[in-house]
Amino acid sequence: MKNREICIYRADASSCNGCDIEIVAALSPRYRLHELGVRVVDKPEEAGVLLVTGGGNIKIGGDLRKVYEKLQPPRIVVAVGSCAISWEAFAGGYSIAGPADETMPVNLYLCGCPPRPPAIINALANTLGVKINEREDFWRPSPNFRGKHSLDLEACTACSACEQACPTRAIEITGKDGRQTVKYLLGKCSYCQTCERACPFDAVRLTEEYRLAFRDKEAAVVVADVELTKCIECGSFFVAPRQIEDAIDRIGGKAKEYAEYRENMRNAMKLCLNCRRKIVNVRGAKRLLAQLAAKTLESP
């Protein structure tokens, strides 16, 4: 064996083969993974680095652990693809064990569905401390590549349209102290662009960024913080101001006769759901609206 040669073993743990073909592609003459001094071996005993694809199901778990134990120390494990990190679209299935970091310690999480071959090479080079030069054109992704999300903090209203459309439940929206936090989990995303198509405010876009390797699983997120507006009756936080303006614009656009009642509509919409439920009849609603109008006149 040559000096400083790094041996890699690939273990397919119930993956869909997508990541596996991309690892094979990384070895192809075009990407020249072997130039890093990397060799892919057939036996785990000879390898020091393990690339694991897929998170492992109930049946394969034990065999996967055996493969890990056969590795040569220091046993570097790279979880390739979102399935190995969080089981992505398959999370919650009855035969699903894992993900990979429950079977063995994982050193690097490489997000993507699947990660591009340059991303795999990049991640390997970073873990092993090898320098690479990304010289050729094909290292660059195509202009409409579906990579890391970019969130427009001004435009996002935390309306949860993307959360409901997401096929892998990779988007979490949580509220606290008048702020709504939108979290895109890169290790759970399938990069299918459904969120971009579902967003009514064009706030999310999938960028060309494809190097999504993280040492810490928790760091693989894109976050937006959205400030909420207060209910003018009870003072509790309930909705983003932009969402109210958008609703008024839409009503004005669809029904011209309401256009001049903009201010009244705005007041009515600044009521939270609980306060709206308190209205029992038309007279009650009128009285409340009059109160609100007086309130807004008083406040600057």
Binding site: A11, D12, A13, S14, S15, C16, N17, G18, C19, D20, I21, E22, V24, A25, S28, P29, R30, D42, K43, P44, G54, N57, K59, I60, D63, V67, E88, A89, F90, G92, G93, Y94, S95, I96, C113, P114, R116, F138, P141, S142, N144, F145, R146, A165, C166, P167, T168, S190, Y191, C192, Q193, T194, R197, L206
Partner: protein, 381 residues
């Protein structure tokens, strides 16, 4: 003295996790047992927990090599359950991506054949030219493997004149690659002598075992879902169905090599006659209806069954994958063969275990393994 050898689930001869129990006597294989379940991901059950639209992406992830086949088949089944109309342009675009995927899959199978035969020159050339296809996918759809082209009622991604231009350039280059591969299959080619007469699956056995796709056509049966039950744009495209004669490894791989030429022809024809118009049709409301979709995936006929119950979530989805039918032919193909040819013969059916794995029940008393159907599970309850 008979000897039982267990191969897998992690073994250098296998590219995916699967286990074989091979009984060998005098260096010849006398019995083969297949042990599935290492890639079982409970997809059919998961599909009934997500909406129809979300399931398109789950169907795509059944297999990383046939993702267009799975999503097209699922969409076709749902479209007939929801009475959707698919515009002409969308049907043509589906066919284009379907054939590109067949090319990608067949080139990978042929590259693996070259690798097993230690023809490293061919292996490297096929793999590096295959990258052109992957670039094309990334350029047109934004991802190299899971394209996300299909949606219920049509396609999500339109072809622009620039991308069509790129498609034509690539098909012209791949034509030369396919000719180069076919040369290796000629009378004195590098592949021919090494693989002729190995792993024979006679026509009658192939029909009895119910194999599909190139494995069936290699045994001399002219059967292709694209001809028999045209879907997408295949009713309007002209193509031939190549068949083999003896049903050995050579015939199966030659069918694949010849199919790449047909696919290239079809892609060019579809791009020439690409109709204008919308790419997405109206999606109806779900009613209580059952429907079936059939397509000819790279490995053979793929069937989806979808049962809608009036909600936005399917009540039942059943997937019959081609490898599921083909894998049991190993028990026939491997008989009386040298153990050294094991990998060559297994790869000649181009098996895909990620889409095949089914629930296996192990009887604790006699350690007998059996693959059971859902109906018999119900009866046990």
């Amino acid at each position: 003295m008979a000897q039982v050898i267990r191969i897998g689930p992690y073994d250098p001869t296998l590219f995916e996790p699967m286990a074989f129990e091979v009984t060998v006597k005098d260096r010849k294989i006398v019995k083969v047992d297949i042990d599935l379940g290492y890639a079982h991901r409970s997809i059919e059950k998961l599909m009934t927990t997500k909406t129809f639209h979300q399931d398109v992406f789950l169907a795509e992830r059944v297999c990383g090599i046939c993702s267009a086949a799975h999503s097209t088949c699922y969409c076709q089944a749902v479209e007939s359950a929801l009475d959707c109309y698919v515009p002409d342009r969308a049907r043509y675009i589906r066919s284009v991506f379907f054939e590109l995927e067949r090319l990608e899959s067949h080139y990978l199978a042929l590259a693996l054949l070259a690798h097993i035969l230690h023809e490293e020159g061919h292996f490297r050339r096929i793999l590096s030219e295959r990258e052109l296809l992957m670039d094309l996918f990334e350029l047109a759809t934004g991802n190299r493997v899971h394209y996300g082209v299909n949606t219920i009622g049509g396609v999500r991604i339109d072809l622009t004149p620039e991308s069509i231009q790129k498609f034509r350039g690539v098909t012209a280059r791949l034509r030369r690659l396919s000719d180069h591969i076919l040369e290796a299959f000629s009378e004195k080619g590098e592949f021919t002598t090494k693989i002729r007469g190995k792993g024979v699956l006679p026509r009658e056995k192939a029909l009895a075992l119910g194999v599909v796709g190139p494995t069936l056509r290699g045994s001399g049966v002219k059967s292709d879902t694209r001809k028999e039950d045209p879907y997408a744009a295949y009713g309007e495209l002209e193509f031939e169905v190549p068949v083999g004669s003896d049903g050995d490894v050579y015939d199966r791989q030659l069918v694949r090599a010849r199919e790449t030429i047909e696919s290239l022809n079809m892609i060019e024809e579809a791009l020439d006659s690409l109709p204008d118009g919308p790419i997405q049709g109206e999606v109806g409301f779900p009613s209580e209806k059952e429907a079936v979709g059939r397509v000819e995936a790279p490995r053979g006929e793929l069937v989806y069954f979808v049962k809608a119950n009036g909600t936005d979530v399917p009540e039942r989805v059943k997937i019959r994958t081609p490898s599921y039918m083909n894998n049991y032919s190993f028990t026939e193909m491997l008989l009386d063969q040298e153990l050294a040819d094991f990998q060559l013969i297994v790869e000649s059916a181009d098996p895909c275990f990620s889409c095949t794995d089914r629930l296996t029940i192990i009887n604790q008393e006699n350690e007998k393994r059996e693959i059971v159907s859902l109906s018999s599970l119900r009866r046990e309850k």
